[in-house]
Amino acid sequence: MTTDSRARVLARIRAAVAGAPEAPDVTRGYRTSHATEDPDALLDLLHENLADYRAHVHRSGPDGLPELIAVLLAERGVRSVVVPPGLPEEWLAATGAERRSDAPRLTPYELDGIDAVVTGCAVAIAETGTIVLDGGPGQGRRALTLVPDLHVCVVGAPEQVVASVPQALPRLDPARPLTWISGPSATSDIELDRVEGVHGPRTLEVILVTPRPAGG
């Protein structure tokens, strides 16, 4: 029946537009970026836009990262943390929280009993304050960053930071499952007023790691 419907729908479509004039080519007169090219300014913009949508944003040099992660987990009372495959071992070197591997695959119920997850990312978009995960090394499958209530995400600057959506898309592989994250879970469903915290992680901590020490 579906086969018949396939032919029927396609025939209807072809008949519907048979006499229509050819549509013009798409004019892409819009900008590829609205932001500066300067990496420091771009990082500041990312910081500002992440914070604007209630992510907690921190800066660190590579050396201070394990200590900062440990502090952030401790501040939230984290007892257990999911470790995605491929996460650099040293990132969790300073925390005392129990480390939970995803091999064998954790069930949704097991994930629900874990306090936090620490990941890297694929790319971050400054103009929109967005982090994109593609399941690559140090990120894990999508459920790992969804069920635990705290997500600590590490962004490597400047190499992982782009200005805009048009600059981000070519760096992503559509064949991989992608999750774009702009702040913690939120809703506008009550009186069209935005409140943070529904089903996804209610706390998003983002660490921007720069080659130089923070503030340097």
Binding site: I13, A15, E22, P174, S185, S188, D189, H199
Partner: protein
């Protein structure tokens, strides 16, 4: 009718009668006024941040037009890509067929419950009601959808189906109804949005964790890659798209875009038009199935259900460009007063007034009256991120209704009577229309951006008169 286009709104009165009842409801009017005005101002600010908004809007329009012109080719390409990535594609000519396909797929899993991401297409086909009749419970997981489902209510807005409810009403619904669907509302639940969101989190979590089947729609489907895109805020979408073993997505054929790159336009214009955000909190993209991540079984149901009828109308087909942002609802003076239910369809507001009569014809009284549910002020066209000329399509559809048997004249009179309260005296109406028609010629190239805000200030409606509307109505109606 009910079999091909949902069963929710059967027996609805025509728009003028329904609107009359709605404007008499003071709570409803206050709720809508508060919500639409909040989002209206925020949207204007979010759009003004991008000085190339006019170009993005133009590109969005052209991408959609070009896609529609070659729709069959893009759908075939999509089908090939989804199939190659491990998904299965089904074609549904109408609602009944889509419901049959989905029911069969759920049955094949042996499950009797599904979790759902908010989807206009599944509302349009009345999927939940159909599944319930087949013994399958469908749990809505979007907060507003949950409010509507628990309250045994009907959706009244595309983005926020429970926009007609205020926080106090939502608290009461949660307190009374959550217990009979699963985990009850916490003791002493307050009416603060944060507490209400927390109650929804607790109530739905057990359903997400045990779910084996998820049902979604999609905002976009990319033909060249076979990728589906769902744009959301709460994380309920991520839950439904990620945790179950089987995922079924029901998507209208017009949601396809040709290339991966095309997303760069819509991912900029949709969030700003819809929730007035630079970017919505979560966007999920998936291509078929992946090893070790997400559902192992993926089905895409491509839905026609009247879309090809709209496509055949050379003026009306532009309604198929719609990306369901709901900006047109939020600026519409008629929607603000009458509310979404008066439109008698899952697609309310200006876009509903042109989409519904095209999808299901103008046979019924309510559908024939929809093209008249407007004062043609043009605000909807101004904010539309894909430049749908809604007033033009409305006028075109009025001609069609009039040609279909002379009901037009009577309906027009009734609708004009119902909408005359919208602009509270004739001079304001005339002035509004003059400004609207004078400036529409500038569109779309010169409008958006900071100037548009100033421009729309001129067309803000007068405040409600001191005299209560109901009194005014009584005096003025014949």
């Amino acid at each position: 009718m009910s079999d091909t286009f949902g069963g929710t709104f059967v027996g609805m009165p025509a728009f003028p009668e329904a609107a009359r009842a709605a404007v008499g409801d003071a709570t409803l009017r206050a709720n809508l006024r508060h919500a639409t005005h909040t989002i209206r101002d925020k949207r204007a600010r979010a759009v003004a941040e991008l000085d190339d908004w006019a170009e993005l809007r133009q590109a969005g329009k052209e991408i959609k037009d070009r896609t529609l012109r070659h729709l069959a080719d893009h759908l075939l390409r999509l089908e090939e890509a989804v199939t190659a990535a491990g998904g299965t594609v089904h074609w549904a000519a109408d609602a009944a067929e889509a419901n049959r396909i989905v029911t069969g797929l759920v049955r094949a899993t042996g499950e009797t419950e599904v979790v759902k991401v908010k989807s206009m297409a599944t509302q349009e086909i009345g999927l939940n009601e159909h599944l319930a009749a087949e013994g399958i419970a469908a749990y809505e997981t979007d907060l507003a959808e949950l409010i509507v489902q628990l309250g045994e209510d009907r959706p009244s807005h595309i983005l926020v189906p429970a926009i007609h409810r205020n926080r106090g009403e939502i608290r009461d619904i949660f307190r009374e109804k959550m217990g009979s669907w699963g985990r009850p509302a916490p003791e002493g639940l307050s009416d603060t949005p944060a507490d209400l969101a927390e109650a929804a989190r607790l109530h739905l979590r057990e359903k997400f964790l045990r779910a084996k089947v998820g049902i979604s729609g999609a905002n976009f489907m990319v033909a060249e890659t076979g990728t589906l895109v769902v744009v959301e805020s709460e994380g309920n979408g991520r839950m439904c798209l990620t945790l179950p073993e089987t995922l079924i997505s029901v998507v209208g054929v017009e949601k396809v875009v040709p290339t991966w790159r095309d997303l760069e336009v819509f991912l900029q214009t949709l969030p700003r038009s819809s929730t007035a955000e630079r970017m919505n909190p979560y966007t999920s993209m998936w291509t078929g199935t992946s090893d070790d991540d997400g559902p192992s079984d993926f089905h895409l149901v491509l839905l026609d259900n009247g879309r090809t009828d709209a496509l055949a109308d050379e003026v009306g087909r532009q309604a198929l460009r719609c990306i369901r942002c709901s900006a047109c609802l939020n600026v519409c003076p008629v929607y603000e007063r009458a509310g979404g239910h008066a439109y008698g369809s899952v697609y309310p507001g200006p876009i509903g007034a042109i989409l519904t009569p095209q999808l299901r014809g103008t046979v019924s009284e309510v559908d024939a009256s929809l093209p008249y549910a407007s004062s043609l002020c043009g605000a909807c066209y101004e904010v539309c991120p894909v430049a749908i000329d809604i007033p033009k399509v409305l006028v075109h559809l009025r001609e069609r209704v009039a040609a279909e048997g002379g009901r037009g004249h009577r309906l027009e009179r009734a609708a004009i009577k119902a909408s005359s309260w919208v602009l509270d005296h004739p001079t304001a109406l005339a002035a509004g229309e003059r400004i609207a028609s004078a400036t529409r010629a500038l569109h779309p190239k010169r409008l958006p951006g900071p100037g548009a805000r100033q421009w729309s200030e001129h067309r803000n409606l007068p405040e409600l008169p001191a005299e209560p509307f109901r009194d005014w109505w009584k005096r003025n109606r014949r």
